[in-house]
């Protein structure tokens, strides 16, 4: 096989690391190495499974690759991004970029100063139905956006998941709703007011947020870790001055099968001794593959990213505004995202 023009190394062998490793499979030979800290059996097994060179230190990994793909819990994004950038490596980083606008800006401008590219993996933009809706709006057929409805309700993360720790994940607002907050901003522009209400029942939580966009649109963004296990429902509705488009995960998939009845599960199969690690299901037109191919080619050919570092910072600001509104019970103004790397971000 011809050597890939740019090689990618992965940090993070959890759910998102696995999802990315699979998705890199659509660019054969590109993903070559993974960080395997000494004694981390899960990461070592992961390296073996995907045929990746295990690297015992970040420095060793940086020495092997041109792009570092960071799929770790959010608090480590900033130090890993800066270390990779200082080693002259481009960065692909899972969302959210960070848990504060200041940290996200430091990632953005740190990469800029080091002369490397930063792509934050807001995968929703690469889901075919969300792209299609964005294209409908861009075509002018819907007119100017006026009311957006975006919903995302799944089951709570597994017991013991780091996502439950809001100090690490930012909770529903920054981890889950971030997708739709970014998408709402991509479609309807900057936001000058955010109001959110939340309810909790045990480990289940739902958040309902209203955004007011400066361009005249309003968005309802609803998200929660609240559904029964295995249930994941999303929907979008974009109404413009001239027309509207609607999609929901209740829509029929292209293939449905009714029978023959599957054979009853034997007790031995029910709990497999070596149960596979959790991973997101493969999708038609896999958005993760589309996202990583996009980022890879943009770096390779010096093309712009569909999601810019500034977009990723703005999404963090919106997620934080949701949290601030939940804390204060008031409608709040999101933190300004400055485009000057030398100035600190300020509150308006």
């Amino acid at each position: 096989m011809m050597a890939a023009p740019l090689r990618v190394g992965l940090i993070g062998a959890g759910l998102m690391g696995r999802t990315h490793a699979r998705a890199w499979g659509s660019l054969p030979g590109v993903l070559g190495a993974v960080y395997v800290p000494p004694g981390d059996e899960n990461a070592a097994r992961f390296a073996g499974e995907f045929g990746l060179r295990p690297c015992a230190t970040h420095e060793e990994l940086f020495g092997q690759v041109d792009i570092v793909d960071i799929c770790t819990p959010t608090p480590s994004h900033l130090p890993l991004t800066l270390a990779a950038a200082q080693a002259g490596r481009h960065v692909i980083c899972e969302k959210p970029a960070a848990l504060s606008v200041e940290d996200a800006q430091a990632m953005r401008f740190g990469c800029e100063a080091a002369g490397v590219r930063l792509f934050v993996a807001h995968v929703l933009r690469f889901f075919p139905q969300y792209r299609a809706a964005q294209e409908q709006l861009a075509s002018g057929r819907l007119g100017a956006p006026r009311v957006l409805r975006l919903s995302r309700v799944g089951s709570p993360p597994g017991a013991g998941s780091w996502l439950h720790d809001e100090a690490q994940s930012g909770g529903v607002a920054l981890d889950l709703m971030l997708h739709d907050l970014d998408y709402a901003r991509a479609l309807a522009g900057e936001v000058d007011s955010v109001y959110a209400a939340q309810s909790r029942r045990g480990e289940r939580v739902m958040v309902q947020a209203t955004l007011q966009h400066t361009g005249g649109a309003i968005s309802l963004v609803e998200g929660g870790w609240a559904a029964p296990e295995g249930v994941f429902r999303t929907s979008l509705d974009v109404a413009g001055t001239l027309g509207a488009t609607e999609w929901s995960s209740d829509a029929s998939p292209p293939l449905r099968r009714f029978g023959p009845a599957s054979p009853p599960e034997s007790p031995a199969d029910a709990v497999a001794p070596d149960a596979p690690v959790a991973s997101l299901p493969p999708l038609d037109g896999d958005p993760y593959a589309a996202e990583l191919r996009h980022a890879y080619h943009a770096v390779l050919h010096g093309l712009p990213f569909l999601v810019t570092p500034a977009d990723a910072v703005a999404a963090v600001a919106l997620g934080l505004a949701v949290r601030e509104s939940l804390a204060t019970g008031r409608a709040v103004v999101p933190q300004a995202v400055l485009n000057d790397g030398t100035a600190a971000a300020v509150r308006p």
């Binding site: 007119g143 009311v147 409608a331």
Partner: protein, 335 residues
């Protein structure tokens, strides 16, 4: 007994449907539709032609002694018609919202109580079997505790055929006045009580008649509920004129033990020809509501949605407008 009914005002979208349903119902012999009154001569003429009913001056219509009246005028005219009907001893079925301001609604109650007649609010969604099944599932507690409700009552702007809907002096407002009440009432029907309301209500000139450019046409409302749950209502006139139906009435519930999706008008045929429409089938909610009102007229007992239900829904609407004006949430106190 034969129940004798009259339509007071026919400006509302639903007046024609009520007339059609009641004329069909009259064939069974126990319902008689006396006629209607309407202040707008052109509308009166058109409605008389379409419905085959006679238009009479209000005093004459009430002098005929109807057992009940259906108030379908512009919202601004409800109070005067309700007072006149109550004074004539007729039970009242009143279109929603029952008034523009709480004070008018309170005056209606006073008039009806003084006359000893029932006041029924037109909330047909309460008659949906799916709504009742959801209410039962909530009531038994089988779903666990509610976390959030997400309601959609968006539609094509009704002012193309009924211009008064977007004229605040007649309607009190736009989409917020028109479409918050149904979902606010369903939440009440399910036992929820709002404690705080936040709303964005914005004009969208492209969705309404040119003269109503400043009327709110886009609306997103958030309620905090005493149960600890939250709810949203999308009341927008956000469907384009080419939408296959007038709009939607849906409510998603996320509860601690399950997720329920209610689509009140899910039962429809997709019909394509020169255009594309969704044609509903199954029980007609307006017919069920009218049947309930006939029962009210016969027995003098309250209907399924009474004055209090109409009033509480109106209070949510008023709070939404107050919130939209201040751009902050406003409390709703118990009444």
């Amino acid at each position: 007994m034969t129940v004798r009914l009259a339509l007071l005002g026919v400006a509302h979208v639903h007046a024609e449907a009520y007339a059609t349903l009641l004329r069909a119902r009259a064939e069974s012999g126990d319902v008689q539709l006396i006629g209607f009154c309407e202040a707008d001569p052109a509308l009166a003429r058109d409605f008389a032609l379409v419905s085959g009913l006679s238009c009479l001056p209000l005093p004459e219509l009430l002098a005929a002694g109807p057992d009940g009246v259906i108030v379908c005028s512009e919202t601004s005219g409800h109070l005067e018609l309700v007072r006149a009907a109550a004074a004539a001893g007729a039970h009242v079925l009143c279109e929603k919202p029952i008034a523009i301001h709480e004070q008018d609604a309170l005056s209606m109650r006073q008039a009806c109580e003084a006359a000893g007649v029932q006041f029924v609010t037109a909330f047909p969604a309460r008659f949906s079997a799916s709504v009742q099944a959801l209410g039962q599932a909530i009531g038994t507690g089988e779903l666990g505790a509610a976390l959030s409700y997400s309601g959609v009552n968006h539609s094509v702007a009704p002012d193309r055929h009924h211009p008064w809907f977007s004229r605040p002096e007649l309607s009190g407002g736009g989409a917020g006045m028109d479409h918050i009440v149904h979902l606010a009432d369903l939440l009440r029907y399910f036992g929820e009580r709002p404690t705080e309301v936040y709303a964005c209500l914005r004009p969208v000139p492209e969705w309404v008649r040119p003269e109503s450019a400043a009327t709110d046409a886009a609306g997103l409302v958030t309620l905090r509920l005493a149960s600890g749950a939250t709810a949203t209502i999308d009341c927008s006139w956000s469907r384009p004129p080419g939408y296959p139906r007038w709009g939607q009435l849906r409510l998603d519930l996320v509860a601690s033990r399950g997720v329920v999706s209610l689509d009140v008008f899910a039962q429809h045929l997709q019909v394509s020809g020169a255009g594309h429409t969704w044609e509903g089938y199954g029980p007609d909610l307006n017919a069920s509501m009218l049947e309930d009102f006939l029962h009210v007229c016969r027995e003098g007992q309250p209907g399924r949605a009474d004055w209090r239900d109409g009033y509480e829904a109106l209070r949510v609407v008023r709070a939404a407008y107050a919130s939209a004006a201040s751009r902050q949430p406003v409390p709703v106190t118990g009444s």
